[in-house]
Every structure is written in structure tokens, then in C-alpha cells.
């Protein structure tokens, strides 16, 4: 059997294991292991005496992957970004952000909902994970919205949607994972998420204002804050600014000088600032220990998927499946933009059933080379390319699109994790309620994605500055 056929059979097997509920990391690792054994054995024409050799070579090849792949400096961003998020609770940043947003934009139509979106966007600048963001704001923002007469389903929907901003606005664990898988510059990808994240937040805000203007009794604005109150609301939220500045300046110095360091260092400095604030606000060792344990648990979960999938990817390398798939994609006669849109729609469907990290890790090794080939190759210049951008820029653009798709899936039924989390926090809300409340935001997300596809400059302007 040809290696590519083996690649297809094993990938089918992987799909079955995942659907049957085997833990994704191990299903991928086992598929990779079986695939490697198969490929090495096939090389010896399935001689009975050669099975032992194939098993040994495959096992030792797979056995290199965990240490080899996790010992990468860029990957240290993931635990650091997770830790910042946990420390931020103890630093009291969530409440501070919500209060500040309320005082500054509460006067708008639908003001409290707009405040919630902006506060989640601000929190996104210290949190690398969407689900955590939704959980926290469900506790803070929903009660206030209900108090002044918002529809409870809509209040829940705002929080579920706002939570998704955390993965676009840096720090973002999922952008780091994308960068690692496709071997692109982490710093540029993190910067690239910034403006699309802000654009998403603005589109959410505009949608809410629009709804408030058209629907009677939507939810009154909150007025009457003095400028003094507004200014006093800012200092408690200041650590956020430190983190944003640290991460941006460590990747790229907007004033034209050298950047201050690497993204890895920027993330760590950001975490350290938040840690100091948390200690100042009274964090104790037991709380720090809990934060560290939670960080470790989430990090090991992510790293296990990473090495498990990379065992599978190593097998794909021997089977050359990604090469075959991109040859197929580029041989299609459809317009490249249409193919790209089909790929994004496929992610929307897949994302209904899978979680974001698993989905990206499993599909990108095959899909990413195909998209790059579609644009004219990894090293193509902007002038010779299909989408009008150089290879590295296309990698960044596609990354942001895919992450936005993954975030979209967090609020779509049947497995919109953010909606489950919000419903979990609020016993008075069913999951169906939250899905109903979040529906308007599908439109906002569809608009955002269309805007990002049509105007790649929104994604590419900031990273092209460095």
C-alpha cells in the first residue's frame, strides 16, 4: 500500500476514535503510532520477521516527539498566558474593568451591555482563555443588567459573546498554538489579533446600540456619573494597561526603537506585574497554589494534545499526506477565494462538535499547507500571490480567520462552550436561553469575518510594521 493510502486509513481511524469519545490527545498519539508502525512495516513488505523492527523504529520515532516538541521557547507562552488570567482574578481586575466601562460608556443606548462588551475586551488583554472570561463576567455583569430590566436571555448572550474576545486580543493561548503548528512568528500573530479583536468588540457594541434603538424597553442607559467618578474608576484597572504595554513593546516598539525583548519575556513580565498587584490586594499562598495548580492542569492538558497530535503529524510527514492534500486543493478549478470560504465554513461545522484547540491541532497540519499553496507557496511575494499578500502574511491572515471561526464556535449550538458556562453560573438560565440570547451576535460575527476576509489590511497592518 502506498504511504498516502496508509495516511488516509489512519486518519479515518483517528476520526472514529475521536467520535467514540477517546481523549483527543491519546487518540491522535495512538493513530500516529499505528501509522508509523504500518509505514515502516510496509517498507519491508510486511515480512513476519520485520514486524518487531517496525514496532521498535516506530516507537522510538514517536518517543522522541514529546521531549523534542515541548522543549520550545515559544511554547512557554502558553502556561504564562494561562497564569496571567488566573492571577488577574486575585488582582481584582474584572470588577475594576466593569466599573470603569460602566462609568465611561454606560450613557449609550444599551449602555450596560456595551459596557460589558468593552470590559470583556479589556479583560481579554490579560486573559488567554475565552471560557474563563465568560464565567467571570457572568457573575459580575448579568446581575447588574437584570437589575435595570434587561431581558435575561440577552444579558447572558452578551456575556457569552464578549467572552470570545479573549482569544483574539493578546495574550491568546490559541494564537500561540496556531503559531507553533504552522511555524510562524508568534509575536507577529499576537499583534495581528489586536485590531481584529477591537473591531469585533466595536461591531458587538454597534449591534447592541442598534438593537437598543429599535427594540422598545431594551434596557435603559445608565447616566449621571461625574467626570471625577469616571477618572477615579480608572486607576484600579491600570494593571491591564501595563500588561498590554508589556506585550506590545516586547514584540514591537511603536516608537521606532528596538523592541524590549521577546513575546515570551513580554508575557512573563505581564504576569509578574499582575502577580504583584494580586499580592498587594491580599493574595495568600493557598490562593497562589490554587492558581498554580489550575495553570498546571490546563497547561498539561494543552501540551498533551500538542505532543499527541505531533506524533500523528510526524506520521503524516512520513506518509506525505499534507503534500497530497495541497496538490489536490490547488488542482481544483474553483476560484481560490471560494475554496478559502469553503474551508472556513467547514471549520464552522466542525466547530459545532469539537473544541477549538483540538480542532485546530488536528486539521491544521493538512489544511494549512493547502491554504499556503493556494496563495502561491510559503515564500511567495505579495505581487505573485493569489490573495495579494506574501506567504508569511497569508499565514497570519489565515490564522486570525481560523481563530475567529474557532471563537464563533464557542457560541454556536449544540456545543457552544461559552453558553454552557454562562448557563452553569446562572441557575435561573437554561442553555437554550443563552443560545437564544446570543443569536444576534452570530450576525455580528458573520459581519466581522466577512470584513476580515474582504479587508486583510485590518489584520495585516500592525504585524507589517515590524
Amino acid at each position: 500500500m502506498e504511504p498516502i493510502e496508509i495516511g488516509l486509513w489512519v486518519s479515518g481511524g483517528l476520526l472514529i476514535m475521536v467520535v467514540l469519545g477517546m481523549r483527543v490527545a491519546f487518540a491522535a498519539g495512538l493513530s500516529g503510532m499505528i501509522g508509523l508502525i504500518w509505514i515502516f512495516w510496509a517498507k519491508k513488505d510486511y515480512g513476519l520477521d520485520d514486524f518487531g523492527w517496525a514496532l521498535t523504529v516506530a516507537t522510538k520515532t514517536a518517543g522522541q516527539v514529546p521531549h523534542s516538541k515541548v522543549s520550545a521557547q515559544e511554547l512557554s507562552l502558553i502556561p504564562t498566558f494561562i497564569l496571567i488570567g488566573y492571577l488577574a482574578y486575585y488582582a481584582g481586575l474584572t470588577k475594576a474593568l466593569f466599573e470603569a466601562a460602566k462609568k465611561w460608556v454606560g450613557w449609550l443606548p444599551g449602555g450596560l451591555a456595551v459596557s460589558t462588551v468593552f470590559a470583556t475586551a479589556g479583560f481579554a488583554a490579560v486573559s488567554g482563555a475565552s471560557v474563563a472570561t465568560a464565567a467571570v463576567f457572568a457573575r459580575i455583569a448579568i446581575p447588574e443588567m437584570l437589575k435595570i430590566g434587561y431581558d435575561k436571555r440577552f444579558a447572558a448572550g452578551v456575556v457569552a459573546a464578549g467572552g470570545t474576545l479573549a482569544s483574539l486580543i493578546p495574550p491568546s493561548a490559541i494564537l500561540v498554538i496556531y503559531a507553533i503548528i504552522v511555524e510562524q512568528d508568534v509575536g507577529k500573530l499576537l499583534l495581528a489579533g489586536f485590531i481584529p479583536g477591537v473591531v469585533s468588540a466595536l461591531i458587538y457594541g454597534a449591534l447592541i446600540v442598534g438593537l437598543a434603538l429599535t427594540i422598545k424597553g431594551f434596557g435603559p442607559p445608565v447616566r449621571g456619573f461625574t467626570w471625577g467618578e469616571r477618572l477615579r474608576a480608572l486607576p484600579p484597572a491600570l494593571p491591564i494597561v501595563f500588561v498590554v504595554v508589556a506585550i506590545i513593546f516586547f514584540v514591537y516598539n511603536p516608537f521606532g526603537g528596538d523592541a524590549w525583548g521577546t513575546p515570551t519575556e513580554g508575557g512573563a513580565i505581564g504576569a509578574f506585574v499582575v502577580f504583584l498587584v494580586a499580592v498587594y490586594r491580599g493574595m495568600r499562598w493557598t490562593q497562589l497554589r490554587d492558581a498554580l495548580m489550575e495553570t498546571a492542569k490546563l497547561a498539561v492538558m494543552i501540551f498533551t494534545i500538542i505532543w499527541g497530535v505531533l506524533v500523528y503529524v510526524r506520521f503524516l510527514g512520513f506518509a506525505d499526506l499534507p503534500g497530497a492534500f495541497s496538490d489536490w486543493i490547488t488542482s481544483l478549478t474553483m476560484s481560490p477565494m471560494l475554496i478559502l470560504i469553503c474551508i472556513l465554513l467547514a471549520y464552522a461545522v466542525l466547530g459545532m462538535f469539537m473544541d477549538a484547540i483540538g480542532m485546530l491541532l488536528l486539521t491544521l497540519p493538512v489544511v494549512y499547507p493547502a491554504v499556503m499553496a493556494l496563495n502561491g507557496g510559503e515564500f511567495v511575494s505579495a505581487a505573485d500571490s493569489t490573495f495579494g499578500m506574501s506567504g508569511p502574511m497569508c499565514a497570519i491572515w489565515f490564522g486570525i480567520l481560523v481563530v475567529k471561526m474557532a471563537e464563533f464556535c464557542l457560541i454556536t449550538p449544540p456545543i457552544g462552550l461559552n453558553c454552557f458556562v454562562v448557563a452553569g453560573v446562572r441557575p435561573d438560565l437554561s442553555v437554550q436561553d443563552v443560545f437564544k440570547g446570543v443569536t444576534p451576535f452570530f450576525i455580528a460575527d458573520a459581519v466581522t469575518i466577512a470584513v476580515l476576509v474582504a479587508m486583510p489590511q485590518i489584520v495585516l497592518w500592525l504585524p507589517s510594521q515590524i
Partner: protein
């Protein structure tokens, strides 16, 4: 998609073994958390050294690379015990009783097969970097300051072996549940409904929130 699970306990031998192993798993996970903290401190030292004392930390990248396996592997068994490795549970979530325990038993057995092979493979990876006759027992070194790589490589088979023990206990637990057609067996992560999971998730993130 999978978060935390409730794990029941009682006085049975299985449950006692479960809790004994849990103590080890917890300690290893905490080690991994402390390594994250250490990473943060290391970066502060490195940046501070470079920008304020014009003396970069030699081998900063090498040290990070040494710390990463600590973070990535040590908590793997703890996370498996809690059912924290993600999976797609649309299908398993529908099962009850014996079909559920059979499905869990089979997937756990498959994981055990993989991990036994990974212990072998990662041990071989370690063994290639280790040489009793060489200075610092090193046959493979980092790029910048030539740190021996064998200690970091050894962490993988160690952590994976602990995971294998955990998987054996879970096989025992699921097998027992299948044999006795148990409703709520001890020492194994129980499938929670999406709502239960979300509540647990929300609980962990909001502990001590100010």
C-alpha cells in the same frame, strides 16, 4: 468537551490505592505549577539583567527549554485522574450503565497501550542522551551553554509511567463497574452533563474572586 469530573471515594482497596496515587500525582502537578512560576521569575531576571545591568542571562533559552518538560509532562496523570484531557463526549454522554463502562474500558485500554509504548520510546530517547562514561553523563547537550539534556528527557518516561499506573487503576475501576453493573463506581471520572461541567468550570475560575 470535557472538564472536571467528580470522583467518588470509599474504603475499598481500589479507592485507597486511588487516593495514594493521587498524593503523588498532586505533588507532581504542583511541581509543574511551580515551574511555571519559575519561568516567570527567570524572564524577569533575564529582562532586568539585559536592560538594567547590560548583562544578559547566559543560556536563558537553554534554561527555558529545560523547564518546559517539567511543565508539560508532570501533571499528566493528575489530569487523567480528573478526566481533564479533552474529548468529544456527545456519544459517550448518551450512554448509561454497562455500555458506558465498556466504552470507557476500551478507550482507557487503548490509551494504556499507547502510553506503554511511549514509555519505551521516550526512555530510548533518554538513553541515547545518557552515557555513564561521559563527563556529566551527557551524550547530548543544549545549543548555547551545553547543558546535559538527559535530565529533561528523563522526565517524559517518568511522568508517563505514573500515567500508566493511573490507567491501570482506571481499568480496574471501569472493569469493576462493568462486572457489577454499578451506578456510581469509585476511583474513575464520571461523565458529567454539560451543565454540571460548566458549573464546575465556573466554580474553579471564581474561587476567591474579588
Amino acid at each position: 468537551m470535557a472538564g472536571h469530573s467528580a470522583i467518588l471515594e470509599d474504603g475499598s482497596a481500589l479507592s485507597r490505592l486511588d487516593r495514594a496515587l493521587l498524593r503523588l500525582e498532586r505533588a507532581l502537578a504542583l511541581l509543574s505549577g511551580l515551574a511555571v512560576f519559575g519561568l516567570m521569575v527567570l524572564a524577569v531576571v533575564s529582562v532586568g539583567g539585559r536592560n538594567f545591568f547590560a548583562s544578559p542571562l547566559p543560556g536563558y533559552v537553554d534554561w527555558i527549554e529545560q523547564a518546559m518538560p517539567l511543565i508539560a509532562f508532570m501533571g499528566i496523570a493528575f489530569t487523567q485522574r480528573e478526566g481533564g484531557h479533552i474529548r468529544m463526549d456527545i456519544l459517550v454522554g448518551q450512554l448509561r450503565g454497562r455500555p458506558l463502562w465498556a466504552a470507557e474500558f476500551v478507550t482507557t485500554a487503548l490509551i494504556l497501550i499507547l502510553m506503554v509504548l511511549m514509555v519505551w520510546g521516550s526512555w530510548a530517547h533518554f538513553a541515547r542522551s545518557f552515557d555513564f562514561a561521559a563527563p556529566m553523563w551527557s551524550r547530548d547537550s543544549s545549543m548555547d551553554i551545553a547543558l546535559p539534556l538527559w535530565p529533561a528527557k528523563l522526565l517524559a518516561p517518568v511522568a508517563f509511567s505514573v500515567l500508566c499506573l493511573r490507567l491501570c487503576l482506571q481499568l480496574w475501576g471501569f472493569g469493576r463497574a462493568f462486572a457489577g453493573n454499578l451506578e456510581r463506581p469509585v476511583a474513575v471520572p464520571l461523565v458529567q452533563s454539560a451543565a454540571e461541567q460548566a458549573a464546575a468550570e465556573a466554580e474553579t475560575v471564581s474561587n476567591g474572586e474579588g
